[in-house]
Symmetry: D3
Subunit: 168 residues, 6 copies
């Protein structure tokens, strides 16, 4: 973990403690990328059914990916103090993992802008997972969405950040 702590306060609060959307108009436009990951854990039969159901038409995983991509574009409308950003790239990957059992989700978001896209990547992962839940909830309601975190963040003045890999 190489994160430089560049602040010891909550940056969305001003000096009187009020929430605000902080000024980034003087920051440099640089290429910034963020990668977030997450998991959805389910029973083995649920995973098997999705994988089987997915085979002929691809609608389950395809729908979840599209939902994640579209949600990344809604981030600033969902997270109150996020800056609206003309995002330049969004990619969502969903990988079945029979050991969980469940799916591993990974979202990569990039932009050339004054501020980063961590929240966009994390939002894409979250909504992708929620969509998988929605599409399988008739089979199993006890699925769990878990380990949503930032894998890496590159570009920008505050330095690059790489999360510690966890042995799952």
């Amino acid at each position: 973990m190489q994160e430089k702590i560049n602040s010891n306060s909550l940056s969305h609060l001003n000096e009187s403690g009020d929430a605000q959307m902080v000024d980034v108009s003087d920051k440099q436009k640089t290429r910034r990328q963020a990668i977030a990951t997450g998991k959805i854990i389910m029973s083995a039969p649920t995973l098997t059914t999705i994988e089987a159901g997915n085979a002929p038409k691809g609608d389950v995983l395809g729908t979840a990916k599209i939902a994640g991509i579209m949600a990344a574009k809604q981030t600033a409308n969902l997270i109150p103090l996020c800056h609206p950003l003309p995002i330049h790239k969004i990619e969502v990957e969903i990988t079945p993992n029979y050991d969980l059992p469940g799916y591993e989700i990974k979202a990569t978001v990039a932009i050339k802008a004054e501020t980063g896209v961590e929240m966009e990547a994390l939002t894409a992962v979250s909504i992708t997972a929620l969509t998988l839940y929605d599409m399988a909830k008739a089979l199993e309601k006890s699925m769990e969405i878990t380990e949503i975190r930032l894998l890496s963040k590159t570009g920008g003045k505050s330095g690059d950040y790489y999360g510690v890999e966890k042995s799952s």
Copy 2:
């Protein structure tokens, strides 16, 4: 866990495997409620700073709660096959837990309608957690959103569902 498996297929796919928003126009309008929970785990200093920073104005937790409530109303715009619903109640609670350390989040959503509000409750929890992440990410990027799941679902023909309590 008292879930009645009322389907052995993925209900959002039609018989040819295509995604669709299923017809609920013949279902009964009954009062339905869903409760979802989740956690965000952070370092002890981050939790302490949020709690302290929160004291004078209440903006951190208040902002996260409002974000969760507003997101619940956006569920059908985020989850592709969810039905748009005139939701009747949304409540979000955030509780600090120094043992995690972090916050426990709980969302309760209710409606009198033809279909349930599980996805609305899960979405409220997810966006509340993401907003907490956003507001504290200058302090710590390694926070993790975890254990998002359905605690209970009542009302509706498919029967009530209660998730198993986990000893955290």
Copy 3:
């Protein structure tokens, strides 16, 4: 003014003081209507130019009216604790008043639902006024939006409400 004070607390806060979207699922579905009014004050030349510019194509007032109608449908996405509602009627009227000088705006919203549409009517008036401002701001930036208030509210258990007419 016949308003029955049916509460002595802020209804959007629960007993611990937290914001919430209150439960209306047990309330009766009745026809409810709200009328809100407001004004935008400008210089006489600005009013004359809008009225003249409006003559051939009707785009200025027409655009402002459409903006107000569409905004009423966004109310629950703008006002955090408002219930999303399938609104049944929205009408916006804009009347030039050379004595102000400026425009008087009136919005009427109706629904058959568990809760009222005051906020929808007030939002329609506000966005109609803002759109008029936007369309005339190259002429005059000192326009003022003023006296936005609820004229009446009928239907629903808490009783009808009629605002006092002001001699403007």
Copy 4:
């Protein structure tokens, strides 16, 4: 008031009088800021109750501020001919004024872009006021939103603008 009248027509209408979103692609990207203000007038007991109710948790004013910030980001979706803009800063302040009695609202919006953010600041003030109305309307329906206007606008080719201070 130092406004340079740089146009004698309604800029959102083309030469045939049709509404359009005017071309700003050739304009210079400069830092632009707009400040708007407004008021909500209520009875003294309503103000006292909000201030008291606000004390323990801060949810009333906090919620209204968040609503204003989020609404500023929706401006181009609400005002038909506004340009969508990746806003760089939004701040909303709410100050109780026992002489009104009521609240004074002030929104500051900034961006480095081809066009200004007056409408964003005015929209933030309007929705903040509407949210205050919504949260206190169980106490009093006769509150009035008033004096919404542009306090200043700086940056951009058309020159700076400062509204005349009114003695309230």
Copy 5:
């Protein structure tokens, strides 16, 4: 064509010619369904590439279908005088037609409500077609979206409507 002309005026205009969202609060809640169709015409090689590209993962047609379903839910936010409706069913079908060459699109929308869902079905078809255009436009920009029309409308007081089949 069995359409009963139940009006000889433009129903979205009031008696003074102003646009409004008409009052439907007194209408009966009945089950209503609308089916709309449309086509996108392209060159044979483009069709072949999409069909081939679609084979392994299903993302092209799947993405277009999801876009159509989600757009149907946005209808009242896009068409100014449409009523917001809690839609009960949306299904989109896309069929390749080598004789066009291109795709035939069909959307079915149903609801139990006071007003119909023709615009929702037509919007679903339109956005599905636009998404197909978007996904293939690197191959061919001369694709054409055509013959978007209402195939049938059932339920509601104004009587059922069936469009005349065209021999294409």
Copy 6:
């Protein structure tokens, strides 16, 4: 037709066939413009009634134009893999054509950005047409939206494109 085929694959699919929003962060910011056209065909009496009804207030065509302009700004929220863009200009023209009979619609969209605005222009045309349909559907349900296509696209590395004029 001067289109340079600069790709022989579906650019929204990655090498494994998954849908993605492609990276444009390295592309040059240049001024780009797209013009799209389309038609709505109706019976002669419907056209006559709209034109007559339109005379006093201009609300029918004005409303449809505003809908098209506002929809262009929603393009990235409707078309899943479109990049969100701070659009710089949108203009919609609607011309009655008694030979169709019906209306011809033309949308011009411009931006200085890393990617083009074809989808924005096509979306503006589509929603303008749908709004005309909505406003006249009480008169005639058999109207048809047709010949939506790209007339021209200029700016950007892939070269300019001009569609072939059709003799209608």
